[in-house]
């Protein structure tokens, strides 16, 4: 489903509405082709795991798994590939700490806006 459009864009750009809606729908559909239900990266809930919208596992969880008590995992659509830092790159919180030798990176859900 296309997302809601900003009031001012609608007001100032009525002719672009159809194209915008279609564009976002295409972007979401392209991500849904991915087979994995989660991506790892930066988003509104900090650095962490996000559900890819409409991925199969995000729609139907295995019956044996108890329903999570917490709200559903946040979803994320990004226009580019995850940055190197979040996909095995050498810098940033998603990267390995070579100084300590520890292979597991820190968890950083608080790398997010305070707003």
């Amino acid at each position: 489903m296309p997302p809601p459009l900003s009031a001012s864009i609608v007001r100032r750009s009525m002719t672009g509405v159809a194209a915008l809606s279609a564009t976002v729908a295409v972007a979401v559909a392209a991500q849904a082709v991915a087979t994995s239900p989660y991506v790892y990266g930066y988003g509104p809930q900090g650095l962490g795991y996000y559900l890819v919208p409409t991925a199969p596992a995000a729609v139907a969880a295995p019956a044996a798994v108890a329903a999570p008590a917490a709200p559903a995992a946040p979803r994320l659509t990004v226009p580019s590939q995850p940055s190197r830092a979040t996909s095995g790159g050498s810098v940033g919180p998603g990267a390995r700490n070579w100084a300590t030798g520890n292979r597991v990176p820190s968890h950083r859900p608080w790398l997010r806006s305070r707003s």
Binding site: P3, T23, Y42, A70, L76, T86, N97, S106, R108, W110
Partner: protein, 350 residues
């Protein structure tokens, strides 16, 4: 194929004309809502439109600071920290001049610029900003608040990265105490702090201190997020790694196997986290004398890392792990080839 970003930009250009406060607010609110809901591309287009409107209000207008601050977060989500930095700096400069007494606004901007540096792998630049952010957050939110706990966690993480273990430990403990009071002892909000403090103790070889924290993080994640969530995989992996570094491969193996299976299901077979868990499991299997399984895991890690554009040191280490497996099987020549390749990969990084 036409990139969606260009279509968004073209559509926004159609709406050229004098901006009004209402235009700015509509785009600003809709853009931030899109970001919060994970629609990053839409957020970028809307906030850029809001930025254009806000610049017409004047370079010192606090509304411009709001938009620039938010646009910086959008760029970070897209992995464009270099473009986020000037926006975050401009937003902070506006607020320092226009709203120096507004602790909440100052904390917002200090947090944003610190996070931009943090995400770019510049913890030394992030640290003084997080220190100022903590002070502003205490003023704005009160000493025992979720905002203060977040500032403590972020400051602890950069101290950890900078090697100041004592300061990091003290800050993580303060964050944990605040979170327990604010959110409760079983809240999912505690899991990251427990994990990070556990990692700090592993780094310091305080394994007995790390174990209860990592077990608690695992239990919280399983209960709060469900047994198949990738955070559960990460908690299992960390606990498995704790046992592995203590020379307890029999305890590590089932945890790492479960973590590997979850990562594969959640993130896909080619993800860097799959390679990491496979490498760890390969080491543990070798220690246990499970030669075939060790070789299979090491091969898997090497194959994933060869295809990725990640840190070459990761591939070098995976090659060394694979070489150790081959050497134990008496395949000296094959092992030497892998080790030579690993040494070549390390050279440019050193």
């Amino acid at each position: 194929m036409i990139r969606p970003r260009f279509l968004w930009a073209a559509a926004l250009m159609l709406g050229a004309g004098a901006a009004t406060a209402a235009d700015w607010k509509a785009d600003q609110d809709a853009g931030w809502k899109a970001y919060k809901e994970g629609r990053i591309e839409e957020a970028e287009a809307l906030l850029k439109s809001a930025e254009k409107a806000a610049r017409e209000f004047g370079a010192a207008d606090p509304r411009l600071a709001v938009t620039l601050d938010h646009l910086a977060w959008v760029y970070c989500a897209e992995g464009r920290c270099d473009e986020a930095e000037p926006l975050a700096r401009e937003a902070l400069a506006i607020r320092e001049k226009a709203l120096p007494g507004d602790a909440a606004a100052m904390a917002d901007s200090l947090n944003t610029l610190a996070a931009v540096y943090d995400e770019a792998g510049k913890p030394a630049l992030a640290k003084p900003l997080y220190v100022r952010c903590l002070a502003a957050a205490e003023k704005a939110d009160g000493a025992e608040s979720a905002g203060v706990a977040a500032a403590l966690d972020n400051l602890a993480a950069v101290d950890h990265a900078l090697g100041d273990a004592a300061e990091a430990e003290s800050l993580y403990k303060r964050a944990l105490a605040v979170r327990e009071k604010v959110a409760g002892a079983d809240s999912a909000d505690l899991s990251a702090t427990l994990h990070n403090l556990g990692l700090l103790y592993i780094d310091q070889k305080k394994y007995a201190d790390a174990e209860p924290l990592l077990k608690r993080a695992l239990a919280i994640n399983e209960k709060a997020r469900g047994a198949d969530h990738p955070e559960v995989a990460a908690a299992l992996e960390t606990l498995g790694w704790l046992y592995a570094v203590q020379g307890k491969p029999a305890e590590a193996e089932p945890l790492l196997k479960k973590a590997l299976a979850l990562y594969e299901a959640d993130l896909g077979a080619e993800h860097a986290h799959v390679a990491r868990a496979a490498g760890e499991l390969g080491r543990v299997c070798l220690e246990r004398g499970h030669q075939d399984e060790a070789e299979s895991c090491c091969k898997q890690a090497v194959a994933i890392l060869e295809k990725s554009a990640g840190d070459p040191r990761e591939l070098a280490e995976a090659l060394d792990d694979y070489a150790a497996v081959l050497r134990k099987a008496g395949r000296e020549a094959d092992a030497a080839k892998l080790e030579a390749r690993a040494a070549g990969l390390r050279k440019p990084a050193e």
